[in-house]
Symmetry: C3
Subunit: 142 residues, 3 copies
């Protein structure tokens, strides 16, 4: 199978954790042709992040937001403050959570667990649009 | 080389960090045939996690457990509390640590450092069995 | 394209976060030949880590250092203390940040965002040289 690589832009989101599983899958119609493979999702930013978490209860992303705000608080003796009080905590969260995910592909679909969804963590108050590089590779059944 | 993809189930474990390097390697007898490649290990759950850490001193997983319990405490104003006080902290730890690992394969073996082992972090008191999707790909020497 | 896999050693660094994007790219002259692919960077240690973050302002790595020192403090009731007060916090940071990165390759270069750089997090006061396994795979334009 040829490699698929595609850049998509997510709409601007308020600060918090937002499910993007559907947008990612919708951007990859070729997924159905892969019998086995992997999808790599890469966020080209340093003040937002990607994570996999519970996809059903909207309280979960709300609690992720409050938890990470407590772990990387705005009220800390940062040096890098020129872009506002939410900037350096956003960089810390970006490193805690990471800029990329790799997800197995099995029989034409992402092999996510029942409760797993892909979230973007928007850590700025006004982060704007965010760019993802999707890379899909693998093979078709023999 | 054809891709290898296999799902395995880990036995239920008590809350804490548990070495699973041997179980992962034992599930992949084909590993010996890969001259160069990668192994992707993916956990299909949102209240447990995977991490690489020191594989020798049992105090290390004990300290990881107490450290992550302090970073994502049960005593916090969570909204998502219906599944018990250990549930939302488990989701936070799942995002802090991550659901997947990618490890290089070199000359038929995982290219882990001397002190590196693969751990599952069980973040629930009664998490039950946990499912891993192992994906191995690469090539044989020419 | 054949797979490229190569081990490099980073010079010993003081505790803190250090940009290594140039060293990683310089070790992979073959990168220019890949039209699409992925680079996997793997650190074979458990008291240092890899992360992607803002590559321009030196205050950012300084703030990452102070932030992670607050999240995983030396002053905590660790059991694993035989290697000094900076050892167990280093293991916690290694799990918080992770030992590997996967970065898309597009038209012969890493598809990093404008502000993204690759950092090694050295979490020991005297960590010594650190070993990276670089694995590059993908395809050339048809």
């Amino acid at each position: 199978m040829p490699w698929i690589q595609r850049t998509i832009e997510l709409a601007a989101q308020p600060r918090g954790f937002h499910l993007i599983t559907r947008e990612v899958v919708a951007a990859l119609p070729e997924l159905a042709q892969f019998d086995v493979g992997l999808l790599h999702v890469f966020l080209q930013h340093t003040s937002a992040s990607l994570t996999i978490n519970e996809n059903a209860d909207p309280d979960v992303p709300a609690d992720l937001e409050s938890s990470f705000a407590a772990i990387a608080p705005e009220d800390f003796a940062y040096l890098h403050t020129c872009e506002g009080p939410d900037d350096m905590p956003a960089h810390v969260k970006a490193s805690l959570l990471g800029a990329s995910l790799t997800i197995p592909v099995h029989q034409g679909a992402l092999a996510l667990g029942t409760w797993q969804g892909i979230y973007v963590g928007e850590h700025r108050r006004r982060g704007g649009r965010r760019r993802l590089v999707l890379t899909l590779w693998g093979e078709r059944a023999g």
